[in-house]
């Protein structure tokens, strides 16, 4: 079966985002951008399923600006077989991304779709669940283990109290949590090879999806800043402070 892996180009997780002074958003000019870390985990998981003989072909897909081709090339260099960019400069909300992915899936017919559990820019944590709803498929969110067995998949999920395992019929939607795997680095020869792998360019209109936003972002501001406090010299001073606060 095929695996479809949606990947998003986001601000690199090491960069501290700066809010624009006019409150219109976060300043992304001249900022390092990378593949969303959870999506690297999704690509890695698809590759491992392929190496284990459970998946035959991996298709990476991204919705975003022309530059997202770099992100897709990274996925191809890691081991995806082909890629599709649905190019748009608009900010596409999870519901619209899910609608586009549904249309892509109708063509690709994947047995499994592996997404990140959240993108680290908007932190929505929605796209996978929405795609599952629109396709009427089961969802295994926040996965820390994925085991395909015949026509079903067991997904171990990171939940508030610990871990939970669910069994889903295939095709299924899986979203990755941090401990699912450690993504590989692409080797130089594989980066070279990735340049020759197919990368299709499409637009949201090709899939007939209306991407008009449903949410209006009216302002983006800095959170209240915390002031650094005092340093204490030793444990006795710390104990005294704690006692003064009524903690001890």
């Amino acid at each position: 079966m095929k695996a479809l892996v949606p990947v998003k180009r986001v601000i690199d997780y090491n960069v501290k985002p700066r809010v624009k002074a006019d409150g219109s958003g976060v300043d992304l000019s001249n900022v390092k951008m990378s593949m969303n870390p959870f999506d690297e985990i999704a690509v890695e998981e698809a590759i491992r399923l392929k190496e284990a003989g459970k998946v035959e072909e991996i298709i990476a897909v991204s919705v975003g600006p022309a530059k997202a081709q770099e992100t897709l090339r990274t996925a191809l260099a890691m081991g995806a077989d082909s890629a599709i960019l649905i190019e748009t400069d608009a900010e596409v909300e999870p519901l619209a991304v899910a609608k586009i992915l549904k249309a892509v899936a109708a063509e690709v017919e994947p047995g499994i779709v592996i997404l990140g559990k959240q993108a680290i820019d908007d932190d929505s944590n929605q796209t996978g669940q929405m795609l599952a709803a629109l396709m009427d498929l089961p969802q295994g969110t926040f996965a820390s283990k994925v085991e395909i067995d015949g026509d079903s998949v067991n997904v171990t999920r990171e939940v508030d109290g610990g871990l939970e395992t669910v069994k889903l019929t295939l095709p299924a939607i899986v979203t990755t949590d941090l401990r699912l795997n450690e993504p590989r680095y692409a080797s130089l020869p594989n980066i070279m090879k990735a340049k020759k792998k197919p990368l299709d360019m499409k637009s949201p209109a090709d899939y007939g999806v209306d991407i008009a936003p449903r949410l209006k972002t009216t302002n983006v501001s800095e959170p209240p800043v915390r002031q650094a406090g005092v340093k204490v010299a030793d444990v006795d001073e710390l104990v005294a402070k704690l006692k003064a606060m009524g903690v001890a």
């Binding site: 519901l95 929605q126 795609l131 709803a133 089961p138 969110t141 939940v159 610990g162 069994k167 209006k216």
Partner: protein, 309 residues
């Protein structure tokens, strides 16, 4: 506006996270609760006692025992015929179910709200809490998840809402529950603990974490948290992780021990009332947010602190 609030529970007890969601919902309008589970009438009774609640919808069926999204989403969608907003605590259950409901209603969800600014306007954190966005929905119905630390808890008693049984939508036949490993702990639960002692990579291994962090936590009656590095290295289970991708906490006192203060970690604890940091590196970023800092070797000072308290 009529709101439907998802009640978080384990089929016997209602979880506290529900009460913060009730407060958020009450700012929008009338509050109805949904208890979906199996053998969960006791939960419905607790829910009916919450102050300010107008009605409790009880859907009791084996298909709802583990809140599988495939089974509960159609139930919520049916009830949304008579409600204007679906409000979920931003727990792992809420985060799993709410977007599925939103997509079925063709509504764009607003995740992890921090405040209610108007009928359809909310604030929410983006970029790991490094920016706060004000967003307004243009959809006919609302689906929101609520950050528990951002709202006061509604009073658990004083209400006397009617409990109404709701017909089951049955098992969708797509998913089943296999098992769970839920950590049992005598310690306070992280998201409701008044004091949290958290350990990082510096704790070396699970034995060291246990012997250094736990005695201090026990002395203070504190919950125990950890950085991602400590969880990834296997010192403690995943449900201890505090941060952007772990639990969001805001206790009275947060004590960070051997934690550097990466933005992803700060995202989960910087709203704590008082932050105390112990780190041997005086330039560690954690000191930029700490109210009280102690630059020292944790192996020396933490046992001393435990003893002197």
């Amino acid at each position: 506006m009529k709101t439907l609030v998802w009640v978080e529970h384990d089929n016997s007890n209602m979880a506290d996270a529900t009460l913060a969601a009730v407060t958020a919902a009450s700012k929008l309008g009338e509050v109805h609760l949904l208890v979906a589970g199996s053998g969960c009438r006791a939960v419905a009774e607790q829910a009916a006692a919450v102050a300010g609640v107008g009605k409790v919808h009880l859907a009791d069926d084996a298909a709802y025992a583990h809140a599988l999204a495939e089974n509960v989403a159609p139930l919520v969608v049916n009830l949304m015929g008579h409600h204007d907003a679906f409000v979920c605590p931003a727990t792992t259950t809420g985060k799993n179910v709410a977007p599925r409901v939103a997509a079925l209603l063709d509504v764009m969800q607003i995740s992890d709200i921090l405040s209610v600014e108007g009928e359809k306007t909310f604030t929410r954190p983006i970029y790991a809490g490094n920016a706060i966005a004000t967003v307004e929905s243009t959809d006919a119905k609302l689906v929101v998840t609520v950050r528990g630390t951002a709202f006061d808890k509604a009073e658990a008693t004083g209400g006397s809402a009617a409990i109404e049984d709701v017909a089951s939508t049955g098992d969708a036949g797509k998913s089943s529950f296999v098992g769970a490993e839920i950590a049992k702990s005598e310690r306070p639960e992280l998201t409701s603990a008044k004091i949290i002692v958290s350990g990082g990579r510096a704790l070396k291994d699970s034995e060291t974490f246990e012997s250094v962090i736990m005695p201090l936590a026990d002395k203070l009656g504190a919950g125990v948290g950890a950085s991602r590095a400590a969880v990834d290295a296997g010192y403690v289970p995943n449900d201890y992780q505090v941060g952007q991708t772990g639990k969001i906490v805001a206790p009275e006192v947060y004590i960070a021990i051997g934690i550097s203060g990466a933005i992803q970690h700060l995202a989960g604890m910087k709203d704590s009332k008082t932050i105390i940091a112990i780190n041997k590196d005086e330039d560690a970023p954690i000191f930029q947010v700490a109210d009280i800092g102690l630059v020292a070797d944790l192996y020396k000072v933490v046992p001393e602190l435990t003893e002197k308290l």
